[in-house]
């Protein structure tokens, strides 16, 4: 058994930042991560990181843009914290040596991004995430944080009190990918989940194959609710064959979208008469698919993104990486031809419910980054707002877990007087399915500390042995493929009731098939078959929360479009969807959005761009 004060699961931007903060606050901190830190998905981020750094801009404007972008489903205390802390945290990155792009006077450059009223997106070429990730990993090395890399965390060690709010997280169970050893990690002060998004729920995604929503699924099964999972961002410019992202920076620098008839459709067909290509992502993604649907798509599948007019010099200076991506993954030379693009899954706005200090309703369990939902993105995330989220809330979670006093949180977590039950008219029974493993680790609320972890390790060993020893059945790849296809077909940019119900049926089927899953590879050494089998279970759980939330929300808000419900219903739906795992079946409930900020209350307005 390994023992530390703070255990951070995941080493992307959020995990690294949390670990640095916890270690600096005096806690003995360790990172447990299924990939070596520099392989984390944050390295793929391209466009930039928002922070109000300049004269003419301030945190209040940033907060306002974010609230509007969220379609009024963000919580003001979290959004204001994001906007207030971002400048300091971005400047700190610069002092840690991050190679930001520079202005002539030597200051860091900023550029315009969709939905922002000021060019506040600070960037490092079109590879901002790579530099952010490496810069922070360097600091982790410098500060001597212990890293367990290629350790896959498969379960949380949480007490099993009836009420999740009484539970406590004592650590995690990890599986050493290299040797197959299953071991406990006891956290004396806190566990921080920073495991990133669940993009692999869909088959056309910008997300890495490691983005399987593990942290979300584990927290969910341990009793922490998932919030607003139905809000999935589809990025309007991904390469059609692979899902590789063409950064919003291209449109920020002046790139233009054309349909097959050579029309600049964002204006000519009235999708966003003011902002055009720089309208927020949900607007542009729907516009593109509408063009394709109405027969004006190129090859009936995509549209064109043109940056040729920007000139080679500017492209090389600010978007060079984009040229390589278009060339290597689509065979297109962005200097001489327009790039084909279509929407692809990109970001999960929802996640593990946390307050603005990163804490969940389970004692000692924190979450930060894309896996968490402090509710800064609401129904639609603005480009460039995820990276500041990682560092702002990563840092806060790290400090809080290490025992620093950050003051009382304004956002409430768990069930309170304010929460209300939800219902959904679902086509399949949502009753319990035997998953042949325990979801909450302890077997008696009385046991504490080490024994909770030991117990979790034992149950995980059993599960792993069971999967390895079983000789025949279904393979995870088959289940996963069907699941991804069902989600992409039915729970995409455009949604309707029938499709959502079809998806739920398929998810239910995947869950049943999973009862019979087995791992063909018998080896303990680097058994990716086993790892992916466990990940597939996580994908099933996450897919279910996304689809259920979407079916219940009969309105049109942000990224969540419903064919039968073409309006935002503020009277009914200014509230967050919460789904928790209740003895094998999902339980749906709601809590109100917090629109009261520090100095003002944000009044919902029409979102026009």
């Amino acid at each position: 058994m390994h023992e530390h004060d703070v255990i951070v699961v995941g080493a992307g931007g959020a995990g690294l930042r949390a670990a640095i903060a916890a270690q600096k606050a005096g806690a003995d901190t360790a990172i447990v991560t299924k990939l070596h830190p520099v392989r984390s998905h944050t390295g793929a981020a391209e466009g930039g990181i928002n922070a109000a750094l300049r004269e003419g801009d301030d945190w209040e404007l940033h907060a306002y843009d974010t609230m509007k972008g969220s379609d009024y489903l963000g919580d003001a205390p979290a959004i204001e914290t994001l906007a207030q802390d971002a400048p300091e945290d971005v400047i700190r990155l610069e002092h840690w040596g991050m190679p930001f792009s520079r202005e002539e006077d030597g200051r860091v450059s900023q550029r315009p991004f969709g939905g922002l009223s000021f060019p506040r997106t600070t960037y490092a070429g079109a590879e901002t995430g790579h530099h952010l990730l490496h810069t922070m990993y360097e600091q982790v090395v410098k500060h001597g944080v212990q890293v367990y890399d290629e350790w896959f965390v498969s379960q949380l060690a949480v007490t099993d009190h009836d009420d999740p709010e009484d539970r406590r997280c004592h650590g995690v169970v990890g599986y050493d990918v290299k040797s197959g050893e299953v071991a406990g990690f006891k956290a004396n002060k806190g566990v921080i989940l920073a495991t990133g998004g669940p993009g692999q729920v869909f088959d056309h995604t910008t997300n890495a194959v490691s983005c399987t929503g593990d942290g979300q699924a584990m927290a969910y099964r341990a009793g922490a609710p998932l919030e607003d999972m139905e809000f999935v961002q589809f990025h309007p410019t991904t390469l059609p064959s692979t899902g590789v992202l063409i950064s919003e920076g291209v449109r920020g620098e002046g790139g233009i979208l054309y349909n097959d008839e050579g029309e600049r459709f964002m204006f000519e067909h009235g999708y966003a008469n003011n902002e055009g290509e720089l309208a927020s992502r949900d607007v542009v993604a729907r516009a593109e698919l509408t063009e394709v649907g109405e027969g004006r798509g190129v090859d009936d599948e995509y549209v064109h993104l043109d940056m040729r007019h920007l000139g080679e010099e500017r492209i090389m200076d600010r978007l060079e990486n984009i040229l390589h991506l278009a060339e290597d993954f689509e065979g297109v030379d962005g200097l001489v031809e327009p790039m084909p693009v279509k929407p692809g899954q990109h970001y999960e706005m929802g996640g593990i419910e946390t307050d603005e200090n990163g804490e969940t309703c389970i004692d000692g369990l924190y979450a930060a980054g894309e896996c968490a939902c402090a509710s800064v993105h609401g129904a639609n995330r603005l480009g460039g707002n995820a990276l500041p989220e990682l560092i702002v809330f990563g840092k806060r979670a790290g400090k809080h877990a290490a025992g620093e006093d950050l003051g009382e949180a304004e956002i409430t977590t768990g069930r309170t007087d304010e929460t209300e039950p939800g219902e959904v008219d679902s086509p399949v029974s949502l009753g319990a399915v035997d998953t042949s493993d325990e979801d909450v680790a302890a077997d008696g609320a009385a046991i504490e500390g080490e024994s909770v972890v030991e117990h979790a390790v034992e149950s995980e060993r059993e599960r792993v042995n069971h999967l390895l020893e079983k000789d025949e059945g279904v393979q995870h790849a088959e289940i996963r493929e069907r699941l991804q296809k069902a989600m992409t077909e039915n729970v995409n940019v455009f949604r309707n009731e029938e499709g959502l119900k079809t998806a739920l049926r398929e998810i239910r089927k995947a869950r049943e098939d999973y009862q019979d899953v087995y791992v063909d590879d018998p080896s303990r050494t680097f058994n990716t078959d086993l790892q992916q089998t466990i990940e597939t279970r996580n994908l099933i759980d996450i897919a279910e929360t996304i689809t259920l939330g979407a079916l219940a929300r009969d309105e049109f808000r942000g990224a969540h479009w419903r064919q039968e419900h073409q309006e935002r219903k503020d009277d009914e739906w200014l509230k967050h969807t919460l789904i928790s795992w209740d003895e094998g079946s999902p339980d749906l409930w709601y809590k109100p959005v917090v629109l009261e900020g520090e100095n003002k209350t944000y009044e919902p307005k029409e979102r026009s761009y």
Binding site: S101, H134, L245, D471
Partner: protein, 295 residues
């Protein structure tokens, strides 16, 4: 097939070394391994049968220290249906998901930024995700990176590489950070940023190190990637002269820059087009200046 029957057949199977567990469990796992070996032989035959017209043949290096039949390294052939734009990584994923789920390799981003999937493809170090199948002669031979210990199939042990990367103290050393009242970034000339730009792109894939003859012969040689990492820091004006000296001192040590014999193999294989050899040469020149100044 029931577990009972097979256990009778393999009563006297040879025990293998493996992680601790109950002996009953051990025996069952042992049986499973044997059945796996049998199925493997079958998979190979199936794959051949599947070889239809529009397929690509890949030859993949296989090795697993634990599974009988794979302890001796060998090559497996897979015939993968070809689609336009398909990469070596796509072919491997297809083979794993459809033919043999035990086929093991690292990968994650699929877009040349995570650095996990550097393999030895048709005799050269490349990223699987960045290498189009159409560019390659068939059958496409995929092996683990040379000069690294193989853990299993295409997975190599990267520990030594990571250690070398960290040996050059790759982090800003300045402790004096701004606070909320004093929010100013350091100034950096755009030209200086341009100077370190290429070196900052390294994704730690290890291709350069694997291609380097000198690194192969001298385990302590820092190697092209680590030296390049140090270059980024040494050339960054923000850190100031003292730290630059400190960094050059690290690079001048016995197993540092002077080992490089400018064979350019690292530069040739780097998927991020980093001019590694050039950077090493520049550091040698800096080191000479350094010496003149101080000795």
């Amino acid at each position: 097939m029931s577990t009972q029957e097979t256990s009778a057949e393999t009563e006297d199977a040879q025990p293998e070394t493996e992680p601790a567990g109950s002996s009953h469990q051990d025996r069952r796992m042992q049986e499973k391994r044997e059945r796996q070996a049998e199925r493997d032989r079958q998979t190979e035959a199936d794959a051949e049968a599947e070889a239809a017209e529009n397929t690509v043949q890949i030859k993949v290096f296989r090795y697993d220290p634990e599974v009988e039949g794979k302890q001796e390294p060998r090559f497996d052939d897979f015939h993968v249906p070809f689609e336009k734009g398909m990469t070596v990584l796509d072919a491997l994923i297809y083979a794993r998901d459809h033919f043999d789920s035990s086929l093991t390799f690292r990968h994650s981003c699929r877009q040349a930024v995570c650095g996990s999937d550097a393999f030895f493809i048709n005799g050269s170090q490349r990223l699987g995700c960045k290498t189009q199948l159409v560019e390659l002669e068939e059958p496409v031979r995929i092996e683990p990176l040379p000069h690294q210990d193989v853990v299993k199939d295409l997975v190599v042990d990267m520990q030594h590489f990571y250690e070398q990367m960290e040996a050059v103290e790759p982090y800003f050393q300045e402790e004096d950070l701004p606070d909320a009242e004093n929010l100013e970034e350091q100034r950096q000339d755009p030209e200086n940023r341009e100077k370190i730009k290429m070196s900052s792109r390294c994704i730690w894939c290890g291709a350069c190190m694997s291609s380097c003859n000198i690194a192969a012969g001298d385990n302590e040689y820092l190697g092209p990637a680590a030296i390049n990492k140090a270059y980024k820091f040494a050339m960054d004006d923000r850190e100031g002269e003292d730290l630059k000296q400190h960094r050059l001192n690290i690079l001048e040590q016995e197993h540092g820059v002077w080992r490089c014999q400018t064979q350019f193999s690292c530069t040739n294989v780097c998927p991020k087009d980093i001019p590694l050899t050039e950077h090493i040469q520049e550091l040698k020149r800096e080191a000479v200046k350094n010496n003149l100044k101080f000795w």
